[in-house]
Symmetry: C2
Subunit: 363 residues, 2 copies
């Protein structure tokens, strides 16, 4: 009989953590026990899956049954414990969707006892820790005990970029402009967008705390901290992580990251050049054959990737595929548009896929 | 005494037409009489300027005084006439912000009697008709009787692009991704965004007619019709018009145009390469010295161009100025972000500035 695992989700009530629980459930991950951990306010509550959504209510601690099964989550629910109280000896696989500082302080110690897959940026740039997108570099998982999950914008772009990189003599230039959703800033980001938008429609002021400026009916070209080179950290993550995951520092990559008034799904306008010429047809065929990509490219039917259609989907939508008219050699160029659910392929789904590789069940 | 003009605005109650009346007023254009024309529903109403906004109410035709002064517009208002009823012999300058088909059918005949400045795309690509951005090619106005006003996305980008093109050995590559506002599709676009957003927040369906898909909390990478090369007409306008206005077909230009849930102001992420190397400082100095540009670039103060700050402003905001890390020669590259009010510099302001050139009062 195949092995079953004691799986723990840290940050289980956050935007990504909730999706991790749902994805584990939907993909029938072989779970013996599931444990939910969270920081601050959520610990002590009781969580259950209702209509496929993880909801957290009161009075969890009274019963103290924080080792549940997926079925328990569908029935009465299980208690959420404080992340700091976790006993790693009871965990086989820990999925971390908690703060970067918590991961920095705890993940390596945890990894002495169990497999840790960390969604924060704490370990992504350490040479001794693999950064993995299963469709790109599954072998990097190997026997690592601590694995970093990539930035959402990077993961979504990487699926089509990898097809071009590996098949057409390597990417030489990659230029990206993003249209990123509020939920990239967590549940609070979504709440601010909705409340702020309603306030704007009613002509009321609204006090934004998550975003630097009002996001309702606005675009904010600023995500994460500015670096010395005047790119934001979010923009540089795409550069650093794409190169590390592809195992190739040669692509020249630049990115502008902007927050738009969208609840869920990051979109990206991507222009690339490759080392070798290729046919448009070949590129489209590669995208269509690639796992994790859905080609949505029928302009005359008004069909192209959008947040509206990509939300909640595991596949990244790719469309608007055409030559880049700004390229000096159009035959080595491509311009396309990607929309991907940044909470799924950009975070939770990718983390669970890594767990599947480690568990020997990734298909 | 300086000459005063009989000015007529066609499409006066549309998103651009309203702004034309406001801009004429604000810039004290030397007006003898002002006449407002519109198609369909608005003709027959009475229009006045109230708190700087042009509003149209009932019962205009009863008084038939459709030759008013700016003061009349501030006081009791003047009547709006049907565009088809206009007598060109009473007009010195006609500003057209009406449909492309109406312009196609009427503008050349009108130009036999008066100066016509057309905001539609009907004449922009005719070799014998100037396409003018006053900060770039004011001399093209010359003694033309019919002048085309550029596409909004083109006009906003052109101000900073021109500084780079003329000073650094010409632009060789220009790559643009846009974040375009709902009002680019007219007043109905704004209404759909607001009504559709409220419906989305309340969980109701909403029937979109202007946009191809729901715009609330969505991004639509599709503006205007698709062309044979899989670019949209909106995207190709930027290519065609920038080259014509700059009088130089050598820049390789490509663009992706996307509609975002913003009421007003187009933003653009722009990456360029030039023929000659230049210092970042020189580029910033040129932007700061240029008429029509406001440099907003203090990242650590969270200061960069946004719809929120650029709305209602004559200047185009330019910021996020940095080298393009994807360029093979960073010293010849720049990446920056532009937000500009597409109803003003992208349309009404540019048209009035052209009229000012023709009237000999452009500064």
């Amino acid at each position: 009989m195949a092995r079953k695992f004691n799986v723990a989700v840290f940050g289980a009530t956050g935007a990504v953590g909730r999706e991790m629980v749902k994805v584990l459930d939907y993909r029938n991950f072989p779970i013996n026990t599931i444990q939910l951990y969270a920081s601050e306010n959520s610990a002590g509550k009781r969580a259950r899956l209702r209509n496929g959504e993880l909801v957290a209510g009161r009075n969890g601690l009274r019963e103290r049954n924080y080792f549940g099964t997926m079925q328990d989550l569908h029935d009465g629910g299980i208690s959420i414990q404080s992340a700091d109280s976790a006993d790693m000896r009871n965990i086989d696989i820990a999925l971390l969707a908690i703060s970067r500082s918590w991961s920095s302080a705890n993940a390596e110690r945890m990894a002495e006892h169990c497999l840790v897959i960390d969604n924060s940026s704490a370990f992504r740039y350490r040479d001794d820790i693999p950064l993995v997108i299963p469709e790109v570099n599954p072998d990097a998982v190997c026997d690592a005990r601590l694995i970093a999950n990539p930035n959402c914008t990077t993961a979504i772009a990487a699926l089509p970029l990898w097809q071009l990189h590996r098949n057409f003599g390597g990417l030489t230039r990659v230029s990206i402009a993003t249209y990123q959703a509020a939920s990239g800033a967590g549940n609070k980001g979504t709440t601010e967008l909705r409340e702020g938008t309603l306030a704007a429609l009613e002509g009321r002021d609204y006090d934004y705390k998550v975003f630097q400026h009002p996001l309702a009916f606005n675009v904010i070209p600023h995500i994460d901290e500015f670096q010395e080179n005047d790119y934001t950290r979010e923009e540089m993550k795409v550069v650093w992580e794409t190169r590390k995951i592809f195992g190739d520092i040669s692509p020249r990559i630049s990115c502008t990251c902007a927050r738009v008034p969208v609840e869920r799904v990051h979109s990206e306008d991507i222009s690339i050049e490759t080392g070798l010429p290729f046919s448009l047809e070949k590129a489209v065929n590669l995208f269509e054959a690639a796992y994790g990509i859905k080609v949505c490219d029928s302009p005359l039917d008004n069909l192209y990737p959008m947040p509206l259609t990509a939300a909640g989907k595991y596949d990244v939508e790719v469309g608007r595929i055409r030559r880049d008219l700004a390229s000096i050699d159009p035959e080595r160029s491509l311009k396309f548009w990607v929309s991907g659910d940044q909470l799924l392929k950009g975070a939770a789904l990718n983390a669970v896929q890594i767990a599947e590789i480690a568990a020997g069940i990734y298909k």
